[in-house]
C-alpha cells in the first residue's frame, strides 16, 4: 500500500470514528447522569476529525497546500480563541444568544462550502465538476445555511438587546414571500445553468431573506426559532456533505437536523401553534381582541407574603423569563432553602417554553444550585397545584394565564398552561402592572386567591428571606 492510500484510509477511519462518537455522545446527553461525559465524547470525535482533515488527499494534493494550510490554522486559531473565551465568559442568563450565535456561524460555514462549490463549478476552477443532483443539493444547503446564518445573527442581536424586539411593516409577509420565491427561482436557475452572477444574486437574496424572516419574530417565540435554525444548520451541513462526498458531514448533519426538527415541533406544540404560525403570524402584535377582566389586582407586602409562606407546607415556584431578566435565580434558591430548612416541601414547575430557548429555566436554576430532582415538568406538576398551599410566580405570565383555557377569543387559547390558579394561594412577583409578551391581560392576577407582590425579583426574594428570619426570631408577626 502506498502512502497516499494509507493516509486515505486513516482519514476515512477517523471520520467514521467521529460519527460514532457523535451519536454515542448525543445519546449520553439524553440523561442527566451521563450528560457531561456525552459532550466530552462528542468533543473527542470533533478533535479526531479535525486533525485527520489536515491529511485529507484533496488538501495535500493541491499545489498551493502551504498557503491554504497556513490560512486554515490562522482561521481556526483566531476563531477558536474568540469562541472559547466568549463562551466561557458569558453569563448563564445570556446563553440563548450565544447558542444562536454559534449556530449561525455553522450555518454560514455550510453556506460558504456551497458558495465555493458553485462558484468553482461555474468558473471551471474547481477540481471536480458537479452533477445536477450535487448542484441542487449545494443550492438547497446554501439556501438553508444562509437563512440560518443571518436569521441566527438577528436572533442574537435581539436577545442581546442590540435591536428592537420586533420590526414590522405593512405587507411584510408578501415582501418576505417574494424574497423566498426569488431565492428559490435563482437556485433553480443554477441547477439548469451555472453562472457566477446568478450565484452571487442567489446568495444575496438568501442572506437577506434570513434577516427579513427573523425581524418580525418576538422574544417569547425565540425557543422555537433558535431550535428551528439549529435544525436548519444541521440539514445544510448534511447537504453540503453530500456535495463534498463527506460521510461525516452527512451523518452528523442529518442526525442534528432530525433531532432539531423534533425538538422544534415539541416547542411549537407546547405553545399550541404550528411552526409556520410562529414564523409567519406576527403573533403578539396587538392582542387587542382580548376581553376585559372584571375585578382588580390585589397587592400584598413582603411581610404578609412571608407569613403565608411560613404557614405553608407545600410551595411550588413557577419561574419565567422575568426571573432571568432580574438575575433572581440565586436569590430564589436561597429563599427556597430557607423554606426547606423549615420543613416545607418546595418544587419548581417549568413550562416547556418558559424563557428564550428550550429548557432555559432549567439551566438557570441549575446554575443557582437547584438539584434537578426538585424541578418538575408541566405534565407532572399540574395535578399537584391543587394540593399546594402557596404557588409563587416569578417573572412568568402567559404560561400561567387561565384565559388559555377559558376564553376562546384569546390569541393564546388552547396553549397548555401551568394550573397555578388551582393553588390555595398564589403570590405573583412582578415589577408592575401590565400585560405579558402577547399583550394579553392575565386573568390569574385578578383571581380571588392571587396576591401581587410588586417588586424586582431579586429584591422581593431578599425581603421575603429577611421577613422569614424575622418571624423566627420575633416569634410571630
Amino acid at each position: 500500500m502506498d502512502k497516499a492510500t494509507l493516509l486515505h484510509y486513516v482519514v476515512q477511519a477517523s471520520y467514521f470514528a467521529a460519527a460514532v462518537l457523535f451519536i454515542l455522545g448525543i445519546k449520553r446527553m439524553s440523561s442527566p447522569v451521563t450528560a457531561r461525559s456525552g459532550i466530552q465524547w462528542a468533543g473527542v470525535g470533533m478533535v479526531v476529525a479535525t486533525v485527520a482533515t489536515f491529511f485529507h488527499g484533496n488538501i495535500l494534493n493541491n499545489s498551493g497546500v502551504m498557503v491554504n494550510v497556513l490560512l486554515m490554522v490562522l482561521a481556526i486559531g483566531v476563531s477558536t480563541v474568540f469562541a472559547w473565551v466568549s463562551g466561557k465568559k458569558v453569563a448563564m442568563t445570556d446563553m440563548p444568544q450565544m447558542v444562536a450565535l454559534y449556530n449561525g456561524m455553522g450555518g454560514g460555514s455550510a453556506a460558504a462550502i456551497g458558495a465555493a462549490a458553485l462558484i468553482g463549478a461555474s468558473t471551471g476552477t474547481s477540481h471536480h465538476a458537479l452533477g445536477k443532483a450535487q448542484i441542487a443539493l449545494a443550492v438547497v444547503g446554501a439556501l438553508i445555511g444562509s437563512i440560518s446564518f443571518t436569521g441566527s445573527l438577528i436572533a442574537f442581536a435581539k436577545l442581546q438587546g442590540w435591536m428592537d424586539k420586533t420590526f414590522r411593516f405593512g405587507g411584510q409577509q408578501v415582501v418576505n414571500g417574494l424574497f423566498f420565491l426569488s431565492a428559490l427561482g435563482l437556485g433553480a436557475a443554477l441547477v439548469f445553468e451555472l453562472n457566477t452572477t446568478v450565484v452571487i444574486a442567489f446568495f444575496a437574496v438568501s442572506l437577506l431573506f434570513g434577516v427579513l424572516m427573523t425581524l418580525p419574530i418576538g422574544g417569547a417565540d425565540m425557543p422555537v426559532v433558535i431550535s428551528l435554525y439549529n435544525a436548519f444548520t444541521g440539514l445544510a451541513v448534511a447537504f453540503e456533505g453530500y456535495v463534498q462526498g463527506n460521510v461525516a458531514l452527512i451523518i452528523a448533519g442529518t442526525v442534528v437536523g432530525a433531532a432539531g426538527t423534533l425538538l422544534t415541533r415539541l416547542m411549537a406544540k407546547a405553545m399550541n401553534r404550528s411552526i409556520s404560525n410562529v414564523l409567519f403570524s406576527n403573533f403578539g402584535g396587538g392582542g387587542g381582541g382580548s376581553s376585559e377582566i372584571a375585578g382588580s389586582q390585589k397587592p400584598i407586602d413582603a411581610a404578609d407574603a412571608a407569613s403565608l409562606l411560613y404557614m405553608a407546607e407545600k410551595v411550588i415556584i413557577v419561574p419565567g423569563y422575568g426571573m432571568a431578566v432580574a438575575q433572581a435565580q440565586h436569590k430564589i434558591w436561597e429563599l427556597s432553602q430557607q423554606l426547606i430548612k423549615r420543613d416545607k416541601t418546595v418544587k419548581f414547575a417549568i413550562h416547556p417554553v418558559a424563557g428564550r430557548m428550550p429548557g432555559h429555566m432549567n439551566v438557570l436554576l441549575a446554575e443557582a444550585g437547584v438539584p434537578y430532582d426538585l424541578i418538575a415538568d408541566m405534565d407532572d406538576i399540574n395535578p399537584e397545584f391543587s394540593t399546594c398551599d402557596v404557588a409563587i410566580v416569578i417573572g412568568a405570565n402567559d404560561v400561567v394565564n387561565p384565559v388559555a383555557k377559558t376564553d376562546k377569543s384569546s390569541p393564546i387559547y388552547g396553549m397548555p398552561i401551568l394550573d397555578v390558579v388551582n393553588a390555595r394561594q398564589v403570590i405573583v412577583i412582578k415589577r408592575g402592572k401590565g400585560a405579558g409578551f402577547a399583550g394579553i391581560e392575565n386573568a390569574l392576577f385578578y383571581a380571588d386567591n392571587c396576591r401581587m407582590l410588586y417588586a424586582d425579583g431579586q429584591e422581593a426574594a431578599n425581603r421575603l428571606i429577611a421577613e422569614l428570619k424575622g418571624i423566627d426570631s420575633g416569634g410571630g408577626h
Binding site: 451519536i23 455522545g25 446527553m29 442527566p32 450528560a35 459532550i39 462528542a42 470533533m46 479535525t50 482533515t53 488538501i59 493541491n62 491554504n68 490560512l71 486554515m72 482561521a75 481556526i76 476563531s79 477558536t80 474568540f82 469562541a83 466568549s86 463562551g87 448563564m92 446563553m95 454559534y102 449556530n103 456561524m105 455553522g106 454560514g108 460555514s109 455550510a110 460558504a112 462550502i113 462558484i119 433558535i226 439549529n230 444548520t233 451541513v237 448534511a238 453530500y242 463534498q244 462526498g245 463527506n246 458531514l249 451523518i251 452528523a252 442526525v255 442534528v256 432530525a258 433531532a259 429548557g359 432549567n362 439551566v363 446554575e367 438539584p371 434537578y372 430532582d373 415538568d377 408541566m378
Partner: protein
C-alpha cells in the same frame, strides 16, 4: 465519492437515529441537548477545511477562509457552552452538591 442511492440510505438511517435518540429526553435536558447538537454540526468545520484546502483562486481562498473561521467558532463555542451547562446539573441525592 458516494453514489446517490447510498447517500439516500445514509440520510434515512441518520434521520431515524436523530429522531430516536432525542425522542425520550426529559425537558430538563432540552437546552444542553440543543446546544450539544449545535456543537455536533460544528463538523461543518471539516468540510470548510477541505473547501479551503482545495482552493486554487483567491476568491475560493477567501470563501474557504470565512467558512473555516465560522465553522471553528461553531465547534469551539458550542462545546464550551454545552460543557458549562451540563457541568451544573446536579442531583440533591448525590454527595458533594453544594
Amino acid at each position: 465519492m458516494i453514489s446517490g442511492e447510498i447517500a439516500l440510505y445514509l440520510f434515512m438511517l441518520a434521520a431515524f437515529t436523530g429522531h430516536e435518540i432525542i425522542s425520550r429526553v426529559p425537558v430538563i435536558l432540552h437546552t444542553p441537548l440543543m446546544s450539544g447538537s449545535n456543537f455536533v454540526h460544528g463538523i461543518v468545520l471539516v468540510g470548510a477545511m477541505i473547501t479551503l484546502g482545495e482552493a486554487t483562486t483567491v476568491t475560493q481562498q477567501v470563501i474557504g477562509f470565512i467558512g473555516v473561521f465560522l465553522g471553528a467558532g461553531n465547534a469551539a463555542g458550542g462545546y464550551v457552552v454545552t460543557e458549562r451547562m451540563l457541568e451544573m446539573f446536579k442531583s440533591s441525592k448525590k454527595e458533594g452538591a453544594k
